[in-house]
Chain length 415, copies 2
């Protein structure tokens, strides 16, 4: 059961007044923050009977019991007091172990700082890196929250479109380099990427790092889908190329991470920042003055996830790979979609012949196919003409969603 199942009728509550003069006292850059374009279609379709919701970046599996039990045990044991602003030492050690076995890092707990979500990790990374008047380079289309968090910090996102061709999305290094100005302070790179499925090669990472070094920029590395990588045979050790493979000590890279995807903990809001330990006090202060830490009992769940969760993660990845093939093969077979199977993350990002207004297409698909997809326009420049479909779900549901989408495509896609 999700919280949505028990929503009282008539809620969310009354609509907002958009241009009310009451809002004039809100700071401009905050008032200008965009509403999430994913939420719009979710709110439109949320309560439809039989709806298959493939719009959000989350799977359909609740958090596994061994994680819930670790948290509940700590909660009942009274771990309900203020705790370490940088995170429980035990959790920082568990993260260090996890990163050592997954990325071959030296095991150094000083590098890891527990945050109240991957989103908060991004928020804190951006707070360190940028302020009013600065620019952040973001390959686009991209998950919109990074750009919005930069705007919230007073900075301006500078979008550099991915190249797009028969092999899917790729980084355009010339355009990236050309986007650097004297106001640029950071490059935000998400790989494997939401929504495109783009995965940076080692050479891509070396080029971005060289660019950042040349201009004295921060890199904010969002590798949260690093385990969801289909570019090589699967297995527990498989993972996408990472800045960890190419960086040196002394590079200015801030890694943002989350428990949401690997361990089916989207609703928990727990993540971490990985950074040079010299940033420790700054990060601690930013945590202190934004949320003052993460519940200790939730952190006990996170320790269980890291220490006992590898089999679960492997299942999740195998399931996503299967889901990707199931839906992508069915859609491609219609000949009516522009779709390249993505090498990473858990989204298909594709165009439908003759349909360019994807914002209304999202609502149409709710009405006519009872399947929820997110419009590409929710992901910024370059997203026009695309729809995002999350395939991190079970076979039966994905087969039914494919059947509905194929039927809809064959009935109307050329209309």
């Amino acid at each position: 059961m999700t919280s949505r199942a028990s929503t009282p009728p008539g809620l969310p509550l009354s609509p907002d007044a958009g241009d009310d003069p009451y809002l004039e006292r809100v700071r401009d850059h905050v008032r200008a923050l965009p509403e999430s374009g994913i939420v719009e279609v979710m709110n439109y379709g949320r309560d439809r009977p039989g709806m298959i919701p493939l719009w959000a970046g989350e799977g359909d599996v609740p958090t596994p019991p061994f994680i819930c039990e670790a948290a509940a045990t700590a909660l009942h044991a009274g771990e309900t007091f203020y705790t370490w602003q940088r995170g429980l030492p035990e959790l920082r050690i568990a993260i260090a172990r996890y990163m050592a076995r997954t990325y071959g890092m030296a095991e150094n707990p000083d590098r890891y700082f527990v945050t109240g979500s991957g989103m908060q990790a991004i928020h804190i990374a951006l707070a360190m890196a940028v302020g009013a008047g600065d620019e952040v380079i973001i390959p686009s289309p991209s998950w919109p929250n990074a750009a919005a968090a930069a705007q919230k910090a007073g900075a301006r996102p500078v979008y550099v479109p991915f190249a797009y061709g028969k092999d899917g999305f790729s980084l355009d290094h010339e355009r990236l380099a050309a986007a650097v100005t004297e106001r640029t302070r950071a490059i935000f790179l998400n790989t494997p990427a939401n929504p495109t499925g783009f995965v940076a090669t080692r050479e891509d990472l070396e080029a971005v790092l060289a660019l950042a070094r040349r201009h004295g920029l921060w890199i904010i590395a969002d590798e949260i889908y690093g385990r969801f990588y289909y570019g090589q045979p699967g297995g527990a050790a498989a993972r996408a190329p990472s800045f960890h493979d190419v960086m040196d000590e002394g590079d200015h890279i801030l890694f943002v991470q989350t428990f949401s995807k690997n361990w089916a903990m989207t609703g928990w809001r727990v993540g971490w920042i990985e950074a040079d330990p010299r940033l420790g006090q700054v990060i601690e202060n930013l945590i202190q003055y934004s949320t003052s830490g993460v519940a200790a009992f939730m952190q006990r769940g996170a320790v269980a996830a890291l220490d006992q969760g590898e089999a679960f993660v492997a299942q999740q990845i195998a399931r996503a790979r299967k889901g990707r093939d199931l839906v992508a093969d069915a859609l491609i077979a219609t000949g009516k979609v522009d779709l390249v199977k993505p090498p990473g993350a858990f989204y298909l990002f594709f165009g439908i012949a003759g349909r360019t207004d994807v914002r209304s297409l999202g609502l149409t698909l709710v009405d006519e196919a009872n399947v929820g997809l997110a419009p590409g326009t929710a992901f910024g420049p370059g997203g026009e003409g695309f729809m995002r479909l999350c395939f991190a779900r079970g076979d039966a549901q994905l087969a039914e969603a494919s059947r509905r989408l194929v039927a809809w495509l064959e009935g109307t896609a050329t209309a």
Copy 2:
């Protein structure tokens, strides 16, 4: 048990490099954020055997079982997915009911937005109200996190000292008015106040509101200790005067709230903002782009707190009142402290004759009395010469702490 009991030796981990050139790329206003002055003494004394820790703003009672059980039940039931950015509708309704019975408000769930801590509520309120170059007026001494969160937003806290006399701390309305400049955007008022125990009268609130109206300022009202009020006979209905008593619809007041104190949920990090519903979309965006919501299962615990917690809250307040009298009477009887019994919150804020360097006094009291107090300097201008003692604890521990402090005072206070 708290998490502190199980800290591995040698942690928190390595010290930070203060002026390392690596930090030069961190934005100045973020690098300049102060380390919490409370944390310093806590880290100094945290692991002393027998230490009585009265430095933090939290009691010694873990969250009551009925709240923990509501959360654990939801967790095991799979409420682990993304949820409403404004908070579960059920929780917003429960808050509206609580506010209606406590403050006589109309029951309007649209006014309430669930946040990941009272700290996050402050952070979001300040993000709406102030930006780079703005000023926020804060009566001082005060809980340092509000000022630090203003600095994080790029604004400057402008401290206006409380007046201090034989009746304790009071607002100096002339100095408040004189502090307004054309850069002022907000007044942050905490009442009942941490650390001073100051409680604004209805007349104080009317005067502050008039000032804010006159200059078009936001009021950020931190009334989280509103129930911890000793200015009238106790009872479930007792609470301090509130801006709710004097405001009109259309006033620009943002209330920040938390579950931490009333319901012994400091470690949970759940609070709320109360604001005009016209701010709903802006607040939703700020939540979306900072932490993306609060775990639904934790919110179920918060619903239980509001709906079933009144008896517990009444006990907490009665206990704090008793604790206040126990410690204050003992200290005052020595004749060696400058202490006025506070009418609200749960702190004594007092001076010790002949001791002006309170930062080192905090460490000395750890060493010589094995009692942990927070130095007044942690609370900004006006805090020099004072120590803060939290009395939200049980009789036995407070009696022992009083005994130790009295012995120390009588042995050394005139030294």
